[in-house]
Amino acid sequence: MDVERPVAVEVSNLSKHYGSVVALNGVDLKVYAGEYFVLLGPSGGGKTTLLRTIGGFLRPTAGRVLLHGRDVSDLPPDKRPTSMVFQGYALFPHMTVAGNVGYGLSLARLPKEEIRAKTGAMLEMVGLKGLGERKPHELSGGQQQRVQLARSLVLDRDILLLDEPLASLDAKLRKDMCLELKHLQEKVGITFLHVTHNQEEAMTVADRIALIVNGELVEQGSAREIYEAPKKRFTASFVGENNLLDGVVASVSGDTVLVDVGAGTIAVGRGDLSLAQGDTVAVSIQSELLQIASGPEVGDDRHSLTGAYRETVYLGLTTSHRVTLANGAELTVRVISDAGADATPAPGAEVRVQWKPGAARLHID
């Protein structure tokens, strides 16, 4: 039995309505102290709303926000033990970098010497040593985000909220900053709560990820859990490149479920779902776990489907093969590109797509 880990952020039945529009619908969430937690989801899905409610910039319509066990739902942002990094334009343009970083400390009326020392130390920690006297507009995008980090971290608070902090950076810079964020969090040891719509970013930094869609918490878990074993159909459709097949339960025997997906019947592990014949289900398989079979079907193989080869898409690292099934559904098979291209099937040729038992996953919603 684990020892109870301390909870840094807890959200209990949290709802936020704008008139008739529901931005958050009864969300329950726990973030443990010292973890790097990511809120992932499509734009407009509510993850930013959730973050801002935790930060105090929005007032909940119902439910509570607890920070370190204390109900802070009525407190404004300046009274909460959180600090925040924004997407962009959040540095004070009329102050120097040092002025920006030291602002919170000057509000706390710390002596000037202490402010200077702490500011200097923090700038060095985020890799901006010597840039204290510059103005924000003289810095690059990446540097500006580091100033924001410095400004938030220097306050020595336990919870750091990050609202799409890397969204305005270009792809290469984003990758580098991701790792830096991760290392920074490991070094400082406080709780990071990070919002993004970018999967790769989420997987790079997160200890745990929560998927927020349409104002609801769809699923949460570690990066590996979400990627390899998604429970909900939506998670499978959003994270990674999965093939989704909708179907009906043909029969259940023990731990195996036979599902009629329209283009054939396949076998899937039941997991801990309880199902009956006729139930509507969905099956997902990671595109990198599919193979184009070389030989004919062996016996009553419930781990393959037949279709017509459609096209090849070369993407550098991977090559995608698209196959159209008998009922019109499409399967994507992803392989690491071979140096010398094998004979790819001709478009329209009949191919069999197969997978190992256990690769397919079952979802009821």
Binding site: P77, Q87, A90, F92, H94, S152
Partner: protein
């Protein structure tokens, strides 16, 4: 973005027309200024340049007295209107009933000065009576004469007059301000007022001062509402008008009018110039932001 294939001469013609209209609108004022420098006053055959009428202004007791009242009114109006306009702009940004709010705030523009002045005059008289009756009932003399026609009532009329203008100027200035900065300041621990004063105000300062200058000039120039509501004392505009209507414009009136107009034009010209220079600096900054240093 200019029309590369456009007709250059059509462009120049239209510019000329624009400047002609501006000049025509200003021409009576220029003419008055022209007269004010004439030793022989208006209509005289000979034109002798002199500054003596401007000197006479400062010895004209009536004029000086009126000027001081006007200055007091203008300062008081600005001191009240600008904060109110700031509050109103913040209110407008935050409220969900935007149409109603802006309608209320801008409607003084659509009510003619005489109409508003008359209505307020009757309103104040009635308020005085009501408060007086209330005072009698309670046996206190405290309420009497709050709204006697005088400085306060003129002030109220001027605040109503200038508020829409200040509101628009401040709102437009605030349009360039990013709310995230206030939020970032809050996240650093600043209260609402601190965040405004430390972060937002320095960035909208120019707009606030422009709104203030605007208020001063508008109050200085206002006639109808002031004359109806001011009670006993004289202001710059009422002295001018009573002179104009009775004796015709005296030479120092021409000088006075020219002086005030000149100052007002100079102030606005300075503001326009300042924003011109500022926008050059801002454009440089914006270019720097758009192409950040490649060295990471």
């Amino acid at each position: 973005m200019q029309d590369e294939y456009g007709n250059k001469w059509a462009y120049r013609l239209k510019w000329a027309y624009l400047l002609l209209i501006v000049f025509t609108l200003m021409s009576p004022v220029f003419y008055v200024m022209y007269i004010s420098f004439n030793e022989n006053g208006f209509g005289a055959a000979e034109y002798v340049f002199t500054l003596e009428w401007y000197a006479v202004i400062f010895t004209d007791r009536l004029m000086m007295n009126a000027l001081s009242w006007t200055l007091a009114l203008a300062s008081a109006t600005t001191a009240i209107t600008v904060p109110l306009a700031l509050l109103a702009a913040k209110f407008y940004k935050a409220t969900s009933r935007k149409v109603l709010t802006v309608f209320l705030l801008l409607s003084p523009l659509f009510v003619a000065s005489d109409i508003l002045g008359s209505a307020l005059l009757v309103y104040f008289k009635n308020l005085n009576r009501a408060f007086g009756a209330l005072g009698d009932m309670l046996g206190v003399g405290w309420f009497s004469g709050w709204f006697d026609l005088g400085f306060t009532t003129a002030l109220i009329g001027l605040v109503i007059y200038t508020l829409p203008y200040a509101f628009i100027v401040i709102l437009i200035t605030m349009g360039r301000y990013r709310e995230q900065q206030t939020e970032a300041a809050r996240a650093c621990g600043a209260s609402g007022w601190r965040a405004f004063w430390d972060i937002e105000f320095p960035q909208i300062r120019a707009g606030v001062f422009s709104a203030g200058a605007f208020c001063v000039i508008l109050s200085f120039n206002e006639y109808t509402r002031t004359s109806l509501l001011k009670g006993g004392f004289d202001t710059f505009t009422t002295v001018l008008v009573s002179q104009m209507l009775n004796e015709g414009m005296s030479e120092q009136s021409y000088a006075m009018s020219s002086l005030v107009s000149f100052i007002a034009i100079a102030v606005i010209g300075a503001i326009i110039l300042y924003t011109l220079l500022k926008s050059e600096a801002l454009a440089r900054e914006a270019r720097a932001k758009a192409q950040p240093l490649m060295a990471e």
